[in-house]
């Protein structure tokens, strides 16, 4: 398959653009593979890519229940950042950001990664202290962070209300300049195309209905397209984790499924060139390349397997947008939707061998999975290929909940709807 390049665009144009091929094949499943990845979302596809690229394992199938990118990879607000506090998280997300920085070249696919920075606003002296602590933690661990004061905020975001008339006046912000956004669908398509080119079979409309077992060991999967055997089976199904794992006889996990809503406004001229978050509540907003404002807030806060939410959160989110940017009150909302989040009990993910022999589990991304897509796949591929975690995901074990080594970034305890 042709590499995408400026030269290729010219060459194809001369041929009337009739020579472009689909970005990935649509193969029928083979009877057996070395590795099966359940879930053709961002994490599953990136795992397949890194299995092939880093470990030379190309006899791999990615099984997707719906169409490629139909889950959270196509539903998120596209923010990429690594502004974490705790030791277990910072190196992992920093590695992810480094992979993002070269991702378009690595995949030969433009994922439109735009390092437009993220600014977390703070409104109280206590929040300012917390921001300083987090910024220092990021810098000490090799990341980037700086304070932004209201005069600079006003210059960079003219629409932002930094006046002292605001209900929660803005004292400043913590900026991570290397953070930004990426085109989420392109991430799924780019990983799919790159994995496919190395021989990975991407099989859509193929639901895993059960697991083939030899004693405890998982040796294959039953699917809507028949039985497929595998030496190793990795599960990366985000919000559907509990239901898929139930099909393997695992009834209880430190996971709850919750709905997160996202919103898009009508398009407007460029007016916001960073990602910015509100510290007086929970809101993150950026402007897409099409001109729409893309934003979201908290999860609805009750267990949900429905890809739609309720109105109290809509009202909350809108009031926060208007508190930050009073002029946006005139905008009309174009779309809203929901995605099912795999909320873990401590707000941190799980990338691990097991819980059954021959099985590997990648879950618990809460609502921060998009930014982790490259490192999640990188670490999950390592875990599957070597049968042990990479140092970057060693702390993301399933056992940590029973060993007292939780990574609770927000200090909320075991209330997954509050992370």
């Amino acid at each position: 398959m042709a590499r995408y390049s400026a030269l290729e665009i010219v060459r194809q144009a001369l041929g009337g653009n009739k020579g472009w091929k689909p970005a990935w094949r649509k193969p029928d499943p083979k009877p057996a593979y070395d590795v099966i990845i359940v879930g053709g979302g961002g994490h599953g596809l990136s795992t397949a890519h890194y299995l092939a690229k880093e470990h030379g394992i190309t006899n791999v199938a990615v099984l997707e229940k719906g169409w490629l990118g139909s889950g959270n990879i196509g539903r998120n607000t596209t923010i990429v950042r690594s502004n974490y506090l705790l030791e277990g998280n910072v190196p992992f997300y920093e590695h992810s950001l480094k992979l993002w920085e070269n991702l378009s070249h690595d995949l030969n696919y433009n994922v439109m990664f735009s390092q437009r920075s993220i600014i977390n606003l703070f409104h109280t002296p206590a929040q300012e202290d917390e921001a300083a602590r987090r910024g220092n933690s990021m810098i000490l661990q090799g990341g980037d962070a700086r304070f932004v004061r209201p005069d600079e905020l006003k210059r960079r975001m003219p629409a932002l209300d930094v006046s002292d008339r605001a209900r929660l006046p803005v004292l400043g912000g913590l900026e991570q300049p290397r953070a930004g956004t990426a085109r989420h669908d392109a991430v799924a398509w780019g990983y799919a195309r790159a994995a496919d080119q190395r021989g990975v079979d991407i099989i859509e409309n193929c639901e895993v209905t059960g697991f083939v077992r030899d004693g405890d060991r998982v040796i294959g999967v039953e699917t809507s397209r028949g039985r497929i055997m595998a030496k190793k089976v990795g599960v990366a199904v985000a919000g559907s984790t509990s239901e898929v794992m139930r099909r393997a006889g695992i009834d209880r996990l430190p996971i709850e499924s919750h709905v997160l809503q996202a919103f898009v406004s009508e398009s407007l001229k460029p007016c916001l060139d960073t990602v910015v978050t509100f510290g007086g509540g929970h809101l993150y907003i950026s402007q897409s390349d099409k001109g729409s404002l893309v934003f979201g807030g908290d999860i609805d806060g009750y267990n949900s397997w429905a890809q739609r939410g309720n109105l109290p959160v809509v009202e909350d989110v809108m009031s926060e947008v208007v508190a930050m940017f009073p002029a946006f009150a005139k905008l009309r909302l174009l779309r809203s939707w929901g995605g099912i989040m795999d909320m873990s009990m401590d707000g941190s993910p799980i990338i691990t061998t097991g819980p059954l022999p021959g099985m590997y589990l990648n879950t618990g991304w809460c609502y921060g999975g998009f930014k982790a897509t490259p490192a999640s796949g990188f670490c999950f591929a390592h875990t599957i290929a070597r049968d042990e975690p990479h140092p970057l995901n060693a702390q993301y074990s399933l056992q940590r909940f029973h060993k007292g080594t939780v990574i609770d970034e927000k200090g909320q305890g075991a209330t997954p709807w509050k992370h």
């Binding site: 509990s242 209880r252 709850e256 499924s257 009990m345 909940f401 709807w417």
Partner: protein, 88 residues
Amino acid sequence: MRIACPHCGTRDLAEFTYHGDAANALARPDPASSDQNAWNAFVYDRANPLGDHDELWQHAGGCRRFLKVTRNTVTHGISATEMLGARS
């Protein structure tokens, strides 16, 4: 989503506070027990069903009573609501 509070009547979701999986909360181990596995399972492990889910809600914006609500996690349809700790 609206919840029918047995004390106050049907009220908007915004009046209620969520307190999680009721089956889990009501199956709390004996406080005198030092069974580590039972306590870990109680604190961290959840069934997280797709379909009917028993859950605790407090009518914080109303009578402040705790309710056990059986709600479908796909349709949000509520099939039963029961007041907990009712006084005689």
